[in-house]
């Protein structure tokens, strides 16, 4: 029986996540559910897109990822299921799945998408405020039971490109464009420790910098102006406590950190801040 993961901004106080699981186990009694994150900031699609992109490769084939960060619930946004890299992704079509799509497209892997329109796979009636319970949880559970997504609604052109039908949402604006110079990027995620993950892939930096043989310098846009951070170093404690450091983070992206502290706080760094390689 495949795993089902849940990613939401539902928190742990209102029972929303528990209800999703009640619905899932009602349809798929032998399912196994894994919580990916439920303290996504309210409505923060970019945060959730990062969490999904960072996690999916660590799950076994067949895993079904249900993601519900859905500020437009009940309005006009679509509801989709994607199949890619032998996994499923289910959620609103608001950009939540856009980083996964972008990455799968870049790797040249096949990706297919369906619009979740067939009410046989939804609860009845469908509320206007809780599609997690009424659409996404039952759809995920039916996928786990082996239902073919092609039964659930019409197929979409599964691409973020102009000819595609998937929404890029606010996520793709932060991702590097092909025209960006190597080593340029943005802070895309601030984690709970205050580490600032960037969109710069460590492997694409100059080799002596990646190996740490000859640390380079990244110029980082902070609240207090431009600031230089050295790296890549092998670990947070390669520098003195309280000092800033650039490392290769656990997903292969360059991360700006402060040894023993919060880089976001100490450097005044926020999501969206720009960085570029000042000296390799």
């Amino acid at each position: 029986m495949p795993l089902i993961t849940l990613t939401t901004d539902f928190g742990d106080a209102d029972g929303f996540v528990g209800v999703l699981k009640g619905v899932i186990f009602g349809i798929c009694p032998h399912g196994r559910v894994v919580d990916l994150a439920h303290s996504i900031p309210d409505g923060d699609i970019i945060h959730a897109a990062y969490v999904l992109r960072n996690a999916y490769l660590y799950f076994p084939p067949g895993t079904i990822h249900i993601a519900v960060v859905d500020p437009g619930v009940g309005g006009g946004r679509g509801a989709i299921a994607l199949r890619a890299v032998d996994q499923f992704f289910v959620g609103p079509d608001n950009g939540l799945l856009a980083w996964v799509v972008r990455e799968v497209e870049a790797a040249g892997e096949e990706i297919r998408a369906w619009s979740l329109e067939d009410e046989r796979f939804h609860l009845s009636p469908v509320s206007s405020t809780f599609h997690g319970r009424d659409i996404f949880a039952p759809v995920g559970a039916f996928l786990a039971q082996g239902v073919d997504p092609a039964e659930m609604g019409p197929e979409l052109r599964a691409s973020l490109e102009p000819e595609g039908e998937l929404s890029g949402g606010p996520v793709v604006d932060l991702l590097p464009a092909p025209s960006d110079p190597a080593g340029a990027g943005r802070v895309i995620h601030v984690d709970k420790f205050g580490n600032c993950v960037t969109t710069i892939e460590a492997a694409l930096l100059p080799p002596p910098m990646v190996s740490g043989e000859v640390p380079g310098i990244l110029e980082v846009e902070t609240a207090g102006g431009l600031r230089q951070v050295k790296g890549l170093f092998p670990s947070y404690d390669s520098v003195e406590a309280g000092e800033a450091v650039a490392v290769e983070g656990s997903s292969g992206l360059v991360e700006i950190a402060v040894n023993g502290g919060s880089a976001a706080e100490r450097l005044g760094l926020e999501r969206g801040a720009r960085l570029r390689l000042a000296r390799p």
Copy 2:
């Protein structure tokens, strides 16, 4: 094997919830446990009663709900197991289960209750401060194993009415009385998004208002005085961003919301605030 749900104010920092699960799996090795909510505000019985009432109908028959928000632990309050609508409810008799009881009674469904007095189904010794671990978790696990609740202690008269033996706690004071006019009610729950759920059942409002054909007006008691909110509308974004809106929430109760924001904050709304239908 039935599901066991957990609802507590134990949070996620002290290991309390994990210990409940250790106890449950020790007794019932093949049990499946679902977290309903663990960030109930400390000792907030009303909050927990709402979460349970809102969730139980989405769980399969046989589910056992263990709820532990228990500010009077170790004192004189009773410990009970209820059976209703093919499910079990286990917890302190402090009002935590009162909304479920009220609803089941109103539907004319049978409800039975037992006082959890038989120590064979508790850990030994029973501490004075952690009955979740020592009484409620093992009782729930033994129920999942198929033990008859009649073995666990004497049966109670399972009613909130004067002739019954169940405690209504602080919950029933907020629920509508039979003498209340139609369309009058209270805010009973503020969720993590700031949406304010009321005790008014949407289905009982005038039909043109329910269908949204002719929106009515609700008069709402706020920190800044009386305020009028229009509804019912089909979704949060039926009004401009930042505007207040009344919708039918996901449990069939009228909900006061603000599109893209927190109604609790923007309108100064708190649990207990009164509402009434000003113009249908």
Copy 3:
């Protein structure tokens, strides 16, 4: 299939815990995972050591406890697996496991330890910032699959004593020394309700005090100077609401509480504060 517990400071916003589970289920598809605590304050080894010490005895034989509060990740600290009381403990060797070790040693039970050096049981490559994912989760999953820990690396002298090779970290400094007078101790943990757990074992206090027949007096070091607290009483509500009370907490340790409130706040109590028996 044994249980696997997880104790971390990873929170619920970044997907870290979900990724651990993806890795675990990839290796051990039939594993069952229990969350012990994920809101340990960032890097707070003492807090985590308390949670583990308080929980492990409530888990069935064979349980594997993975604990990752790891401020020195990627630096020089070791990575270990312990076997004691028919359970496994996996984590960084930074003191996180020291209270369990101390307690098992005091009980005269055997304890064995291995240094996790064999890369066959790690993900590849191992990042420098996320050993939870790359080392501790896979090691725990392989233990659940029945791999002998002796295959995972060289055995260590499993003791906190000078001849041993395990780190006591910051934890052991707070635990009572053999030279301490009976009834003297420290606040070791402040729980989410503000209850202050001490290192004083209730069972070692004078019997009339333990039974509550003749309450004694504990002198407690607070922010506002020395303060006397009466106890042991049978439960929080043995005193008036708002009053301080000493009870036997759920783990057999003396706990300083305030009926219906937070002892930490009302008394100005912090971890590390000293207590002693003023009058038995």
